[in-house]
Symmetry: C2
Amino acid sequence: MKKKIYVHVADDHKIVIEGIIAVINTDNEIAINGYSLTGEEVIDFFDKKGNRVDVLILDITMPILDGIEVLRHFKENKINQKVIILSSYDDIKIVEEVLKLGCKGYITKNSAGEHIVNAIKAVANGEQYFSNDIQKSLFTTFSGQQVSQKGDVPDKFLIDSLTEREVDVIRLIVKEYSSQEIADELNVSTRTVETHRKNLIKKLKVKNSVGLAMYAVKNKIV
Amino acid sequence: MKKKIYVHVADDHKIVIEGIIAVINTDNEIAINGYSLTGEEVIDFFDKKGNRVDVLILDITMPILDGIEVLRHFKENKINQKVIILSSYDDIKIVEEVLKLGCKGYITKNSAGEHIVNAIKAVANGEQYFSNDIQKSLFTTFSGQQVSQKGDVPDKFLIDSLTEREVDVIRLIVKEYSSQEIADELNVSTRTVETHRKNLIKKLKVKNSVGLAMYAVKNKIV
DNA sequence: TTTCATCTACGTATTTATACGTAGATGTCT
DNA sequence: AGACATCTACGTATAAATACGTAGATGAAA
């Protein structure tokens, strides 16, 4: 008999975890090793306790530490663990980010259960796996404009590239402050705020302040 | 043997549906009648096709028509169907709203599977059922505790007051369109768009377009 | 020491957004 | 018939944001 594939599931919704476990149990090559409800628990499990499994199923949205931060922790601490992201988002920016952080698969919560099983087997086998919708997004991204991902591109993601001050500004933009109000709040001139705003729009590749706000909430800068 | 309790599940995430089905199947008093992936499918099932089940498990967040709109449709068309809301939100305003719309139970996705089973049985039996966290929220609200909103009148659900056209506009604002671009898209003049924008800002009590976008995403207008 | 990123600020010009307002056309409900 | 909401559009005016720039001060890093 084949060796079992061991899986750990991290999601803040118990129901989702139970669903995944139910789905996984339909396949007798795969077994559940444990689960976590927060990013903190995940790190505790893998880092402090030194556990490893064949595949970690990781949700993006979790309290305390989200999935991206978990991946970042893994990377920084050179914890070698195959990860499949299971997320509600099909935002290409998030996909790109987690890919750079070394995750091996990405499936959306819209996927049918069998896709999860397939994803687990593929990743456990050293391959990569992406949902159809994600593949489409990736395709349009990589075919449209070149995202140059050869060699060692400095793995600075957009969000990381923001300076402290820029984060200050974007936070206040989200709170519906005008440049004038932001200037008063930060004790700088409106010109400065406008410069920051301008640079933010360029950096984050959005069209206007609404785009900044949307980016900020999507990426939990707020 | 007791009569089976028939349940219909509506959620846009297949995994969640599979999870619920798996949980429900652990109890042999309850059976699945069918499931829906959008609010439209739900209405199709109950209204057009005239089906009824003992309990409908209904997610709030769904494309095309969300759970609240489904409840509203039920109420307006006098469709008598017991509903349990299954939601990620523990926002008390949403809870109050769905209660007014006649839903009989509310459980959060954090709940363990057994709670769903209990909720289904309670509601099928004519009772109400709420998750612990929801009960707490309701308690603090109704026990006179002011909800930290500096004594505001509990503003009706602003979102209801939006006209179709206003929703069109706010959706495009979220997509970072300018008034000009929105005008082109909707085939009206920029003046009209600006009027809608102005009215939206007033109606939703926000300060600017960023506020509109934030409101839209928070309240899932998008 | 030099280089570099960052924060800061200003110049000029144009485009958008916001704040007041009015008002006709249309359809719906009573 | 009348009341009403909605969608549409315009007038005038100011405030704010965006698009191009440049550039000094500062502190950290190479």
